[in-house]
Symmetry: C2
């Protein structure tokens, strides 16, 4: 790794890896000067900047715990995660000070707030202290990070990772992506820009991997599609990761037509990719891979090459990464046959999975029932060992004893001309238990319910879809409700249209 | 990974990964039936076959220790390693039974010998037992493997590795090679054939990495250049590793001219590559990388891309792999400046280094003096962080207070027309301490001492070489003495020409 390699943050910050090393020492000194010592917790509320990267290293390296606060949650939920996570200090960008002002009076303990303005305050803060810190040795099982999952039910749950788990995840991530034929692997010539918030599962673990490899890195700060496109062009970004919604927003932006995206490889995760978006990505020349995982899995579990020419390979969740022991099982934990069709729940073991939820032994036991972590996802394994996730366990539509994949229904509807976005889910039905419902955002005003219904019926007649999957209701709405990380919020849809959450 | 991916061994053995899994279970059952249990030691004396790969997994997975016996040592040394390593059982190919017959009466303990004939005996042995074994869980720090370094002084020394170290080395190796721009990384589409004996530092750790990635693998059995060339062509081998001597033998073979080597990438290690050989490799279209390490380091430390167009990058030992803390230090362990010229000893830390020599606390303490593993190599670090090894500490020629690099002298002489092989070393000198001597194997009978001397003097006049480096003696011999792993044995040369070892 070159000490002279550059890290770029926003429009005006450029530094080398040697600078990063010095700044990590300074940040640790500043934190110590503010009373932080081993075992204490440091919260961060900031955009995706070099400051966040520095916190990724300095806080755990001191032996303290980095609490990456999800700033997109509702204020009451942010307050909940702070009171539950009990940070001793929080570093806060000025854009999040109004939020702090709103909730600070309800803090259940004394928390030191370090306001850093638009970032200049941070520079002053770490500028005033020595440039080197004598980082201690400690047990590799010491907790390094803490964050909260944005579950679709109940309060957010605290998930934490040790140093050991982060190191093994970092190596497993690099080795796992490197194993995919084509250009999924990363090397020192790649230029990295995260498009997943860094508070979300450590930016999926990529900032640790990219720093280990000594790659040129670009931190976008507060993101917008035009800014992302500008940075891709000006900094020569070749590698990013994001949820499909972000990729869709980038391709929707008029500047995308004038930007060369043919050197860009993108890892998609967090939600399934519709066939329609997949085709648009291919047309733009983007090299597309899918990763599968969740907050509780650090997150890497599987990777698939969506840019290859084989449609079977393109439509898969992917191959398990190294050291990932992945099974698809019946409710009593027996393996389903690897026949490419029998579905069951995806359960996993790997040396980087979380051990449970902070202060919630009951949910932790449920997560690890039978000695495997339960993903709550439904899928099948092909004969070649690759996984296909078909649904969230709770998003499967159970109608008359049949399980219908909401993702499959969404895929078919998204192929229909004039459909911009779609969500399928179950609504209660006295006779069948549940019946499928589809809500659609139009890209073309001329689109009607019958257009969609005839596409679905066509697939049923072709035998591609169970007749039970024909939607009970199809309605059009202006916009799909989204969770804080940009996924369609089916809990809200079920509450509105099904009378239950 | 696909359970249907193939592993090929020699001319007549083909199996899938699913078969490998079953055979590992069978081998463990056969070993248990022969009294092997957790903590016991199992020796192997075999060629580079699927059987060895099966031992790589079955023995450590049982909780036993795999002792990979170096069959190229002199019989007295093989006996020494067996009496020192104390295996409980040794699996022996018929080609090594004469060696066993010679030394068996001197075994200091009762050792069960399992003769496997030409391999058929092995098939019968594991064919008679159940196909599954209930592999136990145990502490990751349990010893997995043991082998003996072929040091150039004294008796061989026992080096052992735990499961934890092997797993971390495997991930570090894949991640480290993946970080090199170009095509150093491996992926599931590569076809692997080892050309380093599997008893030599677990085949440099590659069989573990390739199996983890689910790659097609080819085991050559007893090697010869024509057989290697045939397998490259018939099995589509794209990736191998070896010492320079082997690569040289392959390129010397007439069949190399008719074999397409342009898809082959080769990792060179174990010795420095002469510029002459490097040019021949480039001309053949082989993609060449160099790895640096030693028996005590599992072995991966650094990697360099020797096929890139930048001559500075080509001539380097390489960049340290992930988690490798590599320093170049003075005798009192202070870092030398990273200026690309100041030399010192290379010392390292990494989570996969051996903890010491079996039953030799004194040598172990010397190995780890000052908390870093001492490689015994001399080199410098460039400003970009890459390492250049210039010599073995003991191979540096110390003349009149100057340190002369024997490798540099060898490089210059090897560029001289008509030179096939060369070795440079120091011979005792009353006035200067040591003076350089060069022994040369001719490729062209017309070559004379003056041809070599004029090339060396030319480099001195150009300022490329210190005048102290002008050889005191230049002589021609038929063949260079080699160690059991194919390196030039300078200990022998010094004994013959210098009157000391």
């Amino acid at each position: 790794m070159s000490a002279r390699q550059e890290i770029i943050s926003g429009a005006d910050m450029r530094m080398t890896y040697a600078d990063l090393n010095e700044r990590i020492g300074r940040l640790a000194c500043a934190l110590r000067a503010n009373g932080i010592s081993e075992g204490m917790r440091v919260g961060v509320m900031d955009w995706d900047t070099h400051r966040y990267l520095e916190c990724f290293f300095a806080v755990p390296m001191m032996g303290a715990v980095l609490h990456t606060i999800n700033v997109r949650l509702a204020p009451a939920q942010v307050l909940y995660t702070i009171n539950h996570g009990q940070p001793d200090l929080i570093i806060v960008h000025e854009d999040f000070m109004p939020l702090i002002d709103k909730i600070q009076s309800s803090f259940e303990r004394n928390i030191k707030i370090v306001p850093i303005g638009n970032g200049k305050g941070y520079e002053d803060w770490i500028g005033d202290v020595p440039s080197s810190f004598n980082f201690p040795d400690f047990d590799e099982n010491q907790t390094a990070t803490l964050f909260y999952t944005t579950g679709t039910t109940g309060n957010p749950k605290g998930v934490s990772y040790s140093h050991r788990k982060l190191v093994l995840h970092t190596l497993g991530l690099i080795a796992g992506f490197g194993a995919v034929p084509g250009n999924a692997g990363f090397n020192r010539d790649d230029v990295y820009m995260p498009l997943t918030p860094l508070f979300h599962v450590h930016g999926w673990g990529f900032p640790y991997a990219m720093t280990l490899l000594g790659m040129r890195q670009v931190y976008p700060g507060r993101c917008s599609p035009d800014k992302i496109l500008r940075l891709i062009a000006s900094e020569g970004v070749t590698f990013s990761h994001c949820v499909p919604t972000i990729l869709s927003m980038i391709l929707d932006h008029p500047d995308s037509l004038g930007t060369d995206l043919s050197r860009w490889k993108v890892i998609i995760g967090g939600a399934a990719l519709s066939r329609g978006l997949q085709e648009r990505v291919r047309a733009a020349g983007i090299s597309l891979h899918a990763a599968y995982g969740m907050s509780e899995t650090c997150p890497f579990l599987t990777v698939a090459d969506l840019s290859c020419d084989d449609p079977d390979l393109r439509s898969q969740t992917g191959y398990p990464g190294p050291l990932v022991d992945l099974r698809v099982v019946t409710p009593d934990m027996r393996d389903v046959p690897n026949d490419g069709e029998t579905t069951g729940e995806v359960v996993v073991r790997a040396p980087w999975l979380t051990q449970g939820y902070l202060g919630d032994p009951e949910a932790s036991d449920a997560l690890w029932a039978g000695g495997y972590l339960h993903t709550g996802d439904v899928g099948y394994i092909r004969r070649d060992g690759s996984l296909q996730v078909t649904d969230r366990l709770k998003d499967v539509i159970k109608t008359g004893g049949e399980w219908i994949s909401s993702l499959e229904l969404e895929d078919i509807v998204s192929d229909c001309d004039g459909v911009a976005e779609v969500a399928a889910f179950g609504i209660p039905d006295e006779r069948w238990g549940e019946r499928p419902m589809v809500v659609v955002v139009k890209a073309d005003d001329a689109l009607g319910e019958e257009d969609i219904r005839s596409v679905v019926v066509g697939k049923v007649e072709q035998g591609r879809l169970s007749k039970w999957a024909t939607p009970e209701r199809i309605i059009f709405i202006q916009e799909l409700p989204k969770t804080s990380v940009g996924k369609t919020d089916k809990k809200v849809l079920r509450a509105i249209y099904g009378g239950k959450s």
